[in-house]
């Protein structure tokens, strides 16, 4: 087994993800290769260093803030995403205020075009009337 090939397998070897024959092959390579042994030791140290980081308890002040969220949500007057840009909704749909504005604008535009068509149809119907000869007084 070449060093490069062994290096590819070392992480899986350390995590016990290799099948028996592969693991035995890597074990034999490690016994004869000081470079890969050193690398495995470094990887073990790095994993140990990461794994040994202690879990930190959230502070009581933070917990109080978190417990208060559902109450705040219930009584909020303005949606969060309007006050805090970082809380924009993740959904691909536009935010509610935008969609309501869009629907208002489109309704307004539809109303205008309806009115315009009514006016044009009125004027269209009015034309022949105006072209009809008036009865003589």
């Amino acid at each position: 087994m070449s060093d490069a090939h062994a290096e590819e397998l070392l992480s899986a070897y350390l995590e016990g993800e290799l099948d028996e024959s592969r693991a035995a092959e890597v074990g034999r390579h490690l016994a004869s290769c000081p470079n890969c042994r050193l690398l495995v030791e470094s990887m073990k140290d790095a994993r140990e260093a990461l794994g040994a980081l202690p879990e930190v308890e959230p502070s009581p002040a933070l917990l109080q803030r978190l417990y208060a969220i559902p109450e705040k949500k219930r009584f909020r007057l303005v949606p969060d995403f309007l006050l805090r840009p970082s809380l924009q909704p993740l959904s691909p749909q536009p935010p509610p205020f935008l969609s309501s504005s869009l629907s208002w604008l489109s309704a307004r535009a539809a109303g205008r075009s309806r009115r315009a068509s009514t006016v044009s149809s009125t004027s269209a119907t009015a034309k022949p009337r105006s072209s009809t000869p008036r009865p003589a007084p």
């Binding site: 992480s11 899986a12 995590e15 993800e17 290799l18 140290d45 790095a46 994993r47 140990e48 260093a49 990461l50 794994g51 040994a52 980081l53 202690p54 879990e55 930190v56 308890e57 959230p58 502070s59 002040a61 933070l62 917990l63 803030r65 978190l66 417990y67 969220i69 559902p70 949500k73 969060d80 805090r84 970082s86 809380l87 909704p89 993740l90 959904s91």
Partner: protein, 145 residues
């Protein structure tokens, strides 16, 4: 109930990701605000922890990109967390602390996505399945095997 069950996990994820207790507290609060706001959208067939991880990961990475947290913040992490672990012998302890500093310096050089993956796997001990689900990836590219 959600706070009792998940605040520590979310806070630690944010703390390990940002390296700053103050940032982590703010991020945790914002993640819980998002969580309460998105509960109606939660699909009950999905694993809740993985769903919360996705929400937390997205928020942390987005905020990191938006604000570009200062690198110096991790120094605070070194002082507060790394130094607080006492090991058996002073020599071994010094070596381990040095290793941790090296690991954290290396984490700083990683992209936020890769850093998040390392934190989830090697610090939080998540399974590859959970990480893959939260990152929206197949397990293959994450697993070392």
């Amino acid at each position: 109930m959600l706070v009792n069950a998940y605040s520590k996990k979310v806070f630690n994820l944010a703390y390990h990701f940002s390296g700053s207790a103050q940032e982590a507290e703010d991020m945790t609060q914002e993640i819980f605000l998002k969580l309460y706001g998105s509960l109606q959208k939660y699909d009950f067939t999905r694993n809740f922890t993985a769903w919360l991880l996705t929400l937390s990961k997205n928020h942390l990475i987005d905020e990191y990109r938006r604000t570009k947290w200062e690198r110096t913040q991790r120094d605070e992490f070194n002082d507060r967390v790394i130094a607080q672990n006492a090991f058996s012998g002073p020599e071994r302890s010094a070596v381990r602390e040095e290793n941790k500093k090296l690991v954290w310096q290396s984490l700083d050089r990683l992209s936020p996505e890769i850093r998040m993956t390392v934190i989830l796997r090697d610090i939080q001990g998540r399974t590859y399945d959970e990480i893959a689900e939260s990152l929206g990836l197949p397990v293959g590219p994450l697993s070392p095997g």
